[in-house]
């Protein structure tokens, strides 16, 4: 998996850092870098003044100069906005339709603990059900005061295997939702895909 490499002049010389990418193991083979590192990777190949590195998404950059040593520390951001906005862009890039993004954004901001798993379930659905049209929205139960995220898979034709396929994807992620505030239901509303 990609790893960020930042190289260049020492920061206190107000130099520039070149962002490049190498195919090296990140944390674990199946892991992808967190969103804020992905955001830095978008600038690979670019030269960036060291003063502006924090603007690329890392919360803080500290640079320490010793005997020939420069050190840069990048900390995971402490705001939720960036994480939720990036997740929504990632979901939309998979072709998932979000008809009311303001509502989904507000829900994920409030229940940010399920942001990662929402991206994962959308990713699995997108990969394993390429024939389906996917929609993400906030579902409000009119009978009880409850709301949750609903990811719908819509098909041109429905047969008996549809729910089995959906349940198989649900099973793969259900544990990741346990103990979290907020909920995501992956299902179908049996509407025809457009």
């Amino acid at each position: 998996m990609p790893q960020v490499r930042v190289q260049g002049e020492a920061p206190q010389e107000r130099g520039s850092w070149e962002v490049s990418q190498e195919m090296l193991p990140f944390a674990q083979e199946e892991d992808k870098p967190p969103f804020w590192i992905q955001r830095i990777l978008q600038f690979r190949g670019s030269k960036i003044p060291s003063d502006l590195l924090p603007n690329l998404g890392a919360e803080i950059v500290t640079a320490v100069e010793g005997e020939g040593i420069s050190r840069v520390s990048l900390h995971e951001p402490i705001d939720l906005t960036g994480e939720v906005q990036n997740a929504m862009v990632e979901i939309q890039n998979m072709g998932v339709r979000i008809t009311k993004p303001n509502e989904v954004f507000d829900y994920l901001l409030r229940f940010s603990g399920i942001t990662d798993v929402t991206v994962e379930i959308a990713g699995s659905a997108h990969q394993r059900l390429p024939e389906a049209q996917l929609l993400l929205e906030v579902y409000r139960d009119p009978e009880v005061e409850d709301e949750y995220l609903a990811l719908y898979a819509r098909f041109r034709e429905y047969d008996e295997s549809v729910m089995d396929k959906i349940k198989a994807i649900r099973r793969g992620h259900s544990e990741r939702l346990v103990g979290k505030e907020g909920w995501l239901l992956f299902t179908t509303d049996f509407q025809p895909a457009e």
């Binding site: 490499r5 190289q7 967190p34 803080i60 840069v72 990048l74 008809t99 009311k100 303001n102 509502e103």
Partner: protein, 255 residues
Amino acid sequence: MGRRYPHPPLIEAVCEFRLAQDSSWDLTIPGLVYEKIKNEFPHREQRLMQDMEISRTQEGLQQQVRTSERVLFFTKDRGMFVQLGPRLLAINCLKPYPTWAGFKQNIGKAFKALTDIVEVKGLQRIGLRYINLIEMPSSLVRLEDYFEFYLFLGPRLSQNMAHFIAGCEFQYAIDRDRCRVQLTPAPSASSGHPTLNLDIDYFLAKPRGVEVESAIDWVEEAHNRVEEVFEGCITDRLRELFQEVKENASGESAG
């Protein structure tokens, strides 16, 4: 007192304190802080965070990814929460914003809870950040009609930007403090109209530049600066969209 907006664009405000490395820290601290603030922040959650360090040594570049645990304590309505990680305290406030007085009260409470438990030797960084999400009223807009902080493009350049970042750092208090301002496009809103993030981050740029005892006074000052910068970034046309409450001569709300 700043201007008042019934429909403010603020979606998240964060106040953070990073303690200097010589302040002691151990895994029991989040639990001890929780005991002091659990009436206001009763819901606990834990998250794993990744920090990255890149060192340039004589042998070449070395990279290290570290995982640390962050504990989050939420209010009942999840509108506000405290984050505690190694030498980090942050207080986040989500929309709807409860006024500065309401936010500041919780900042003070969380900071006091921490300093009652930990001997804070110094503050590496303090930050007060306001993230605004501004939805434009139509599909095609000229940024200069709504902002006094934007990217200027000369007439020979294409005026159709697919993406942009407008950013600047302002100096304050003889460069002890800085305010980083960024205007960037955000994911589209439900209306389909362009949406922008106006991110204002006022922070202590000089480690230990403020005494621990003065940290809350610094935060108050930071808030004043953030308000000034916010007002400096926008035009009256945008204020109209936020439905500013005008006050009459006697100081009463007129609208």
